[in-house]
Structures are given as C-alpha cells and as structure tokens.
Amino acid sequence: MSDNAGSNTAHLETILGCHDHDPGKLLQILREIQEQYGHISPDAITRIASQLAIPRARAESVASFYSFLHIKPDGAYRVLFSDNITDRMLGSEELMRRMCQQLWVEPGKVSEDGLVSINTTSCTGMCDQGPAMLVNGRAITRLTHQRVQEIGHLIRNRTPLADWPADFFRVDDNIRRKGLLLDNKLAPGDALRAALTLGAANIVEAIKASGLRGRGGAGFPTGLKWEACRNAAGITKHVVCNADEGEPGTFKDRVLLTSYADLVFEGMTLAALAVGAQQGYLYLRGEYRYLLEPLQAILQRRRDKNLLGEKILGQPEFDFDIAIHLGAGAYICGEESALIESLEGKRGVPRNRPPFPVTHGYMQQPTALDNVETFCQAALAIQMGAEKYKAIGTTKSTGSKLISVSGDCPRPGIYEYPFGVSVRDVLQDCGAANTRAVQISGPSGICIAEGEFGRKLGFEDLPTAGAFMVFDDSRDMFEVARNFVHFFAHESCGFCTPCRVGTSMLKQTMDKIAAGHGTSHDLNEVENLDRVLQTSSHCGLGRTACNPVLHTLKHFRPAYENRLKSLDFEPAFDLDGALARARQMTGRDDTGAHLNTEET
C-alpha cells in the first residue's frame, strides 16, 4: 500500500543500502521505491541521485522510461488491464469500462480521492487464462464481471492486497502436450555433471553439434554464440537469461520459470562453465514479479547443494552465481542490447552494433545472452548427447519447441512439439474450429490465413518465439492489426526517428480508418511508412512494427476497404471531433451539439 510521498525516508535509505549505493542498480532501486511508496516522488528522485552521486536528470530520465514506474502520484491501487488482443477477445474492454463506472474513475486518470487508477498495459503473459490484470504489480487472472466487481469492493474498502482471495492470483501452467523438455526426468545437477565430464571446450562443441538454435525468435546458433563469448578477450564474463517475454501472446517462459526453473538455472550454469563466466543474471519481466521469491528460493537451494556458488560440485575453478533483476514494463528490454542497458540500470535503449554482446555486453564485458527456453534445451542437449538431440525436429531446426497457444480455441496453453509440426496439427490439438487466421510469433511475427495452415513451424519456414494466437471467422482482422499497431507505438523506445514517429503515425492512421475516415490515400501512407520503418529503424521493434498491417492487408484487404470512405482524401482535422470535449463538458450529445459534416 502506498504511504504518500517519500516522507518515510528510512525505507529509502534501506533500499539504497541494500544495493550498496551502486548507480548500476538504479533501476532496481527505483523499482523497489515504487513498490514501497506507490510512486517515486520528485523528492525521492533528488535523494536517490545525490546518494548515488549521479545527476538528478539521469535518475529522472531512467524513472520516466519504464511504464511501471510513476513519477507522479498514482492511485493507492493501480489497476492495469492486460490489453493484448486475446484479452480483448475475452471481453477485457467491457470489464474495464464497468470497473471505471463502479469506481468512478476515468481510464488513465487517478480517482479524486487518490484511491485508484485504472489503465491498460501491454500483454501480461496470461493469454491462456485471460482476461488478466495487474493490481499494484500483482497478476490476477480469469477475470469475469463478478470477479472485477469483487475487486472493486476490495479496493473501495481499502483491503490490503495480501488479504484478497488467493484464488484471484492463481496462475496455471496449462501444459497440454509434453515432449523432451516438459517430460524430462532430470534431477538438479544431472546435466551439470554430464557437462563437467565433457569439459568446457567440449560443451561448446556439443552444443554446436546438436544444432541448437536460440528460442527467443531470431534462431541464432547457440554454439556459435557461446564459442564467440568463450574466445572473447577478457577474464570477467557473464551469462544472461532473457526472461523479458514481452512479445504479446507468449507465455512459455513463465511456465518454465514456474515449474522448470532448476533446468533453466542448470542451463545457465553449464553455459557459464562453457564460456568461462563468473556471474549470471536472470532478467525477469516486471509482470512476473510474483515469481521473484520462489525463484530466489530455488537459487538458494541450488547454492545449498553446491550447484551454485564457489567450487561448484567440487570443481576447484568453477565459481558461478545468479542474481535476478526485475524489469519494470518495457517490451524493448527483451531486445538483447537494450536488456543489457537496463541491467546496467539505464534506459532500455538498444545499443549500436557492432560490437555485439558476446564481446562487449554487460559492463562492456563478454556476455552470453540467451532465452529461457534456450538454456533448458542446452541442458537437455548436453544430457542426451548431440547426436540424439539432433535426431529430433528437422535438419535446420533441431529439438523441440514450446508453443504458447491462445485465442479462439477450447484448450489454450503450452504445447511442446518437435520442430516441423504444421500449423494445422497445432490447431487440431487445441481444438480450434472455423479458424480464419493464426498470428505466429506475436505482433512482430507473421499472420497466416487458411490456405497456409499446412506450413510448418521451424526456421526453414515459420520461425517462431512461440506465440500462436488463433482467430476464428467471427474476428475482425483489422481490429487485430490495430491492437498490434497500438502495442508497437506504446513500446517504441523513442531512440530513432523512423520508429518513434512512424509507429505513432501508423497508430493515428489505423485509428482514422477505424473511425470511418480512412481513404485509399491512407493505405498508401501505411505502405510508405512500412518502407521507412523497415529500411531505417535502429532495431527489430521498428523493423517489424508494420508487419501486422502488411500481413493483414495482404490476406484480409476487404476488412480495411470496407471501412474506407470512397473519397481519395479526407482532411485530418475533424471539425465535429474537435467539439467532443465541449460536448463532454456540457453533458450534451444532441444533434445541435454536432456539426453535420456527413453528406447523407
């Protein structure tokens, strides 16, 4: 619960002390202050800056970058509705409207008594059990009208979050199909022992031979990455696990960290052995804050068993430990170099590359950074041996892949398949019917329509980080694309011109079309924006931001054209729209309060 302003400075000092007054921990410090006080007051920023001996403007600049950090007073209860298209399809917009009515608050504003604020947030990774929300950073799943109403009452009565029904916070794994990963019978330490018998250099060789490719989306060969990091000059090296899982529709890393965390840490530890790293970091997205304590307990258990810490498993020169860093609401921090910036306590802005993280990563030192699932797969590949591992999947996509299925199907959840499974097979297994389209690998991925359901998941055909959102024939694909466009505009870090301005323009154009003011000129503008975003954006976010529109235009052009006016040009300035505020203030909505601009 927020106790107003930063008046209680004792806590602030404790938090700063816990982080050794290290400016590199700025984000963690800000995050804990946010958690403690409900917002980060100007006073707190001044104090933090002076205590860390950094310019105040830098502290403010970091605090204002992350969505979950508030530098203005916010509600004592901060409600954020997950706004992925899958949440919307489950009725989140209506739930939010009703909650706003119930609590007398406008979306995006704080109630007059400072009790509550209600807003939306990017996908919280609960698509298989949505609609979902975060209340003061805690995930709540399976929202219904009744549940939202109960939450409204609890807030009105100022019931502390700790006393809310535990069932609200229940998060299910929903594992529907197991393969070599989800069915593994490894005990903690098994894969590590296998790795130790191989020896550091041979781990790299084995991973190379296994054909393992990164599961975070880009599919970079993991063995080559580890080899480059191993060969990079420098004694201090790092292993980083990317658990930012920000791509809407993806939630398999959440399940791995919930029920297979030992395997994740085991993979990180053998990676450390392979590259010669002493320190590891798990970068955990803020939305998964509730996993922090359980994960810390597992880390402690591993230390107790000598699977982490000094002289791991009795090996004289094998020291390695893992720390957990929390994100604070920024999709861009999933991009590897932005993640490293964020780990260093800065704004999550992608770096200029080269140099790459394998030589100049965390603290400009060699860093092996991989996705959660990649570390699990690496541990399995070492345990099974490269030959056996390589036999699973396809030639260029070896092993298995976890798919996060959500949307229009009766059995959403986690499905593990050998690479090479067809979209049709996945649709059949999850019970989807009358499917119109599937969004593979999230908004930055590919939208495919019925004729293409024979295509296969794998780097040869449909590369994927795991999201698999199903849309049946009742869905309007224009609205799907518009939701994704809003997501990119909200998540653009703002560093480079094409993406900062282009994603916002794209959003305006899609909203204009949605409002019935679109023309064919606007569709041309979308195509122009796409060229600019693709050719000149600084990172993958900008380069893929137009995909949702381009792909849906290709398959579902009528969904756009039906909304266009027959005109070629439509002024951007809407006279009647400009009066909306006046109507709202005067409470009028009669015909006299409208300008009649329609020629009907």
Partner: protein, 243 residues
C-alpha cells in the same frame, strides 16, 4: 597504404577505427546527417545518414569502415527515405520557421531545402511543449527539439555538468534539465558551455540576441548544408581535397 571502400562509385580511403561517415566527410564526400557531429561520439538516432550496402541498410555514422565495401548513398531511394525522415521530424514538433531565431542557421531547415522537401507529407502532431524562459540569459523552446542528444552529450562529456537529459519513452520522449524544479534557472548552465553551441535547431537560445544577422545572410542562406558540412569536417591528410 590506406584501405579504401567505394561510396557511390568513388574510392574513399579510411584509417582504422573510422566510421563510414567520418571517412567520407574527411575525403570530401557528403552524406546527409543530423545527430552526427564531428566532435562527439556517434549517436545513430536520426537515421538521415542511412546508406545501402547491397540489400542491407545501415546508419553510416555508426558503421565501422571496412575495406572493399560498396556503399550507395546519393540515390533516389535513400534521398526519398531522408525526405520522409525530415518530414517526420517536422511533423513531430512545432516548427514555425518564419518566427524562429534559428531560421537560416538551422540544420533541420537546411536539410529540408537541400533534400528538396516540398510538402508536409504527414499530419502534424502539434505537441504541447511549454517554453522554459526561467533563466535570465537563456531560453529553451522545446517545440523545436529533434531529440538528437547533442546538448546532452556536450553538457555531459565536455562541460561535465549533465544539464540536459532525455526523459519519457516513444513519442512522449522529451528533453529535461537537471533540477528538481525542472527549470533551467535552477541548473548550473553557463553561456560559455559547449551545450550552448551544439543544438542543430532552435531550442537552446541566448536571450536578447534575436535576429542580429538578418535572414537571408545566415549560414545556410549562403551555402547549402551539403557544402557547409564539408567545409566544417575535419580532414585527414590522406583525404582527397574538396574542390
């Protein structure tokens, strides 16, 4: 013997560690740029300097020069891209050139003329960005900020003050100053700071020096930016002489 790469068919020598932009300017070849400044570490954010290497594009100000690269820059496809980027920057802020003290000395305006940006291209966003006139000698007109971070770099790296920083994210990203009040008067900025000189547009202005040189006789009124930039560029002895 120096290594070389090809830029629009011309051979450009470079020293190890140079970027494509540095080598090109030193050898008398202009590549449009906005956030790049010869005295500072390249930033790579405006993307006006985007060039083509085969099918692939990159910002030339951050791209390390490599022997044998075949780079295209002055081609219609890239100049069209640059025009759109300039239009985006105009649309994102509030630029009323006729009343701007920087008119004629403004890099954004000069790029607009040089690249032949004749239309607005996009709906303007008309952001609400109040001025900061709190300081007795200096005015900040945030309306014109193109977020190039040159003032941030100058104040941090040269002046050792960090008077400026960028806050927010995405389209709400904006310039802030280093004070709890948020006002420039409460910072330790001085007229002699490097940060006072570097703004390519009309954000950081000395008060009471308005229009001392008439419009028409200003920097980019005399020579287009493509020529000026070459005059300003540090030359390596090996670089081919310009003109």
């Amino acid at each position: 013997m120096n290594d070389t790469f090809q830029l629009d068919g011309a051979s450009v020598p470079f020293a190890p560690g140079q970027t494509v932009m540095q080598a090109a300017l030193a050898a008398g070849h202009y590549i449009p740029h906005l956030c790049y400044h010869p005295e500072f570490k390249p930033h790579g954010s405006c993307k006006l300097c985007t060039v083509k290497i085969g099918n692939h594009t990159a910002a030339s100000c951050t791209m390390p020069a490599e022997a044998g690269l075949e780079i295209e820059s002055d081609i219609e496809e890239l100049n069209a891209l640059r025009r759109t980027l300039v239009q985006m920057l105009f649309a994102e802020g509030n630029h009323f050139c006729p009343s701007c003290e920087k008119s004629g000395n403004c890099v954004l305006q000069a790029l607009g003329y040089d690249l032949e940006v004749h239309t607005a291209g996009f709906r303007h966003m008309y952001p609400d960005r109040p001025l900061d006139a709190s300081h007795p000698e200096i005015l900040l007109d945030f309306n014109r900020c193109v977020l190039c971070e040159l003032c941030v770099r100058a104040s941090g790296e040269v002046d050792g003050k960090s008077v400026f920083a960028l806050a927010g994210r995405g389209i709400t990203k904006h310039l802030i100053v280093n004070s709890a009040s948020g006002l420039l008067k409460d910072t330790n900025i001085a007229l002699t700071d490097k940060a006072m000189e570097v703004c390519p547009v009309g954000v950081i202005l000395k008060k009471r020096v308005g229009f001392s040189k008439p419009i028409g006789e200003r920097r980019y009124d005399q020579r287009p930016i493509s020529a000026q930039a070459l005059d300003d560029a540090p030359r390596t002895p090996t670089g081919a002489k310009h003109e």
